[in-house]
């Protein structure tokens, strides 16, 4: 039976990790780390898990320790945020290149300078090309559910890749809301025993990880990494099906909200999607057909499925809580790529919102929907990319 609780997103994820009971956890114990790892460290100290913690002097070392432990043959977790993820950058590529299924909740927070650790997607967007699977979460419940599912996805024998589970800094990580925990044994059964694949500690069969590969085969190795990413979508959907059987909660590659007959729509990640849904209801009440698409699997990105879902919409605004300075927002670039191959496609605009924890308010969503409504009726697009919620 599910247990209903009022907890923070961090507490929810720490409990998911407790229920999985991993072998090893790399922990950098200082900000920008959040209290997620502090809570998990308490579970270790209280004997609630058998996990061996490795306290390290930096996030770079944390990921290095995780890579060593995962290559040795353990089920390995860590968590990070903001500058911490940035400092891991070099090692993130090694984790994925070595095909090590490390599971890592990422509390999405801004990058310096100037110093700011509030909700923002710049950290995880910067890790887009590191070869990790990325799953994004709207609220505490989704953060918890996605963390549990991440083990089944990353550890799948056809996949063996590390997974980031993204949740919004402070807005979800440090805010309390109602959610439901699964039973410990349900989670244990769902993730199953960890299956080793070519562990370093198997002395009968000595191997090396990440040795030098020169021009003869590096290209082929990277192509193989691309190939495995193409299989992730199916695994994500299979795991979601099993998860639904257990929990009753449905997950896909993305979520749509009132999108089927929509004339105008937002594409928006994480917690801001929830606020937008409430605004969509008020527009629907006024007879304006508004809808929303919230990506869940961001890497690999489900281009065909997203294009199919958005193709009948007249005007779409892609909302980015991160910027690629001198370029469009990172999510906008994905959506335009997805829709380019369709003959009759929606008009697309891009808004940058909520950087460094700036509140995303219902009034912001209203402004965007009003602009989309004009565009859908034939008004010209003034600016493709624009910042909203800016203090003048």
């Amino acid at each position: 039976m599910a247990k209903v609780v009022a907890v923070t997103g961090n507490e929810a994820c720490a409990n998911a990790l407790r229920q999985v009971n991993p072998d090893v956890c790399g922990i950098y114990p200082i900000t920008p780390q959040t209290d997620m790892m502090q809570r998990f460290a308490s579970f270790i100290a209280d004997g609630k898990v058998d996990t061996e913690s490795i306290l390290v002097e930096s996030e770079h070392s944390s990921m290095s320790a995780c890579i060593g432990a995962a290559a040795a043959g353990g089920r390995v977790v860590t968590a990070t945020s903001s500058q911490g993820l940035a400092l891991m950058w070099e090692m993130l590529h090694i984790a994925s290149g070595d095909r090590l299924p490390i599971i890592m909740p990422v509390v999405n927070r801004a990058l310096s300078a100037p110093l700011n650790i509030h909700g923002d997607h710049s950290d995880a967007m910067g890790a887009r090309d590191t070869g990790w699977i990325q799953i994004w979460s709207e609220n505490a419940q989704e953060s918890y559910d996605n963390t549990i599912q991440a083990f089944r996805i990353g550890e799948h024998m056809d996949i063996r890749l590390p997974v980031m589970v993204c949740l919004d800094g402070f807005i979800i990580s440090h805010s309390i809301e109602r959610m439901e925990y699964l039973e410990d044994d349900e989670v244990k059964k769902f993730v199953g025993e960890f299956k080793n694949f070519l562990p370093l500690l198997n002395l009968e069969k000595p191997i090396s990880y990440g040795p030098l590969i020169l021009t003869d085969l590096y290209h082929e190795y990277k192509r193989a990494q691309h190939e495995v990413m193409t299989k992730v979508k199916d695994v994500v959907l299979d795991v979601a099906k099993d998860f639904e059987k257990m929990s009753g909660r449905k997950y896909g590659l993305f979520e749509t909200y009132r999108l089927d007959d929509a004339d105008i729509a937002l594409v928006i990640l994480n917690s801001a999607a929830g606020t937008s849904k409430d605004v969509i209801d008020t527009f629907r009440d006024k007879g304006i057909k508004a809808g929303l698409l919230k990506p869940r699997l961001f890497r690999p990105f489900p281009y065909e499925e997203v294009a199919e879902a958005l193709k009948s919409v007249k005007a779409v605004c892609v909302m980015d809580r991160a910027d690629s300075f001198g370029g469009y927002g990172p999510l906008f670039m994905e959506i335009t790529s997805a829709l380019y191959h369709i003959k009759e496609r929606p008009v697309l605009i891009n808004k940058i919102y909520g950087l460094g924890g700036r509140d995303y308010l219902p009034s912001h969503a209203e402004l965007v929907f009003n602009e989309l409504n004009e565009i859908a009726k034939g008004a010209k697009v003034k600016n493709i990319k624009e910042y909203i919620g800016v203090r003048e």
């Binding site: 209903v4 609780v5 009022a6 509030h118 609220n139 919004d168 402070f170 807005i171 979800i172 440090h174 805010s175 309390i176 809301e177 109602r178 917690s271 801001a272 929830g274 606020t275 849904k277 409430d278 924890g357 509140d359 995303y360 308010l361 219902p362």
Partner: protein, 191 residues
């Protein structure tokens, strides 16, 4: 009470305002309700003005932004009335609950409250000092919010205060806080 109740807390760092919002959220979980509790994060300094928020609803809470139009404004430190606009975004029927030594009529006048807005007061700091010897007005404020909103029964709230404070404090402090919560419930007055 309507389908969703939105509460804004005004306090100063170190008064237990954020804890109050958390305890209230936990207590309101009963009956299958959805809850949220979150502070406005900034540099955490003792004495600095801070806000915290609650939403309680029979429906799923999807909104993830500060409460802009509160149904209830709970003021844990009355000196804030002179330095910030605690009535910001208030609706015509917003309820104010203020920790003050003044009587509710004076506070009503000070806030220039509308005819449909209700104003309640209690001396939560004195209650806290009486009950456990420290100027931490959060538990009597919780008692007052419980009484005024009717969101939960006093017994239920006391059980949650016991649970939340039980993790951190001695029996003497817990008992003092339970007494303070009860007195906050009993002593809050409408003006």
């Amino acid at each position: 009470m309507s389908e969703t109740v939105e509460i804004r807390w005004h306090g100063r760092g170190g008064q237990g305002t954020v804890t109050a919002a958390k305890v209230l959220a936990d207590a309101c979980l009963s009956g299958g309700r959805h809850v949220q509790a979150f502070p406005e994060y900034g540099p955490e300094r003792a004495g600095a003005p801070l806000r915290a928020y609650n939403r309680v609803s029979s429906k799923e809470l999807r909104m993830h932004c500060p409460v802009l139009e509160p149904d209830i404004v709970s003021v844990v430190d009355a000196t804030l009335i002179d330095s910030i606009n605690i009535a910001e975004g208030a609706k015509e029927n917003t309820i104010f609950i203020v920790n003050t030594t003044k009587n509710p009529k004076d506070i009503r006048a000070r806030l220039n409250a509308g005819s449909k807005q209700k104003v309640y007061t209690l001396d939560a700091t004195k209650i806290a000092l009486d009950c456990f010897g420290r100027a931490l007005p959060n538990s009597p404020m919780l008692g007052a919010v419980c009484k005024v909103t009717g969101l939960i029964s006093l017994e239920h709230l006391l059980e949650d205060v016991r649970k939340s404070f039980g993790k951190k404090f001695s029996q003497k402090i817990i008992d003092g806080n339970l007494e303070a919560t009860k007195r906050g419930y009993e002593e809050v007055k409408e003006g």
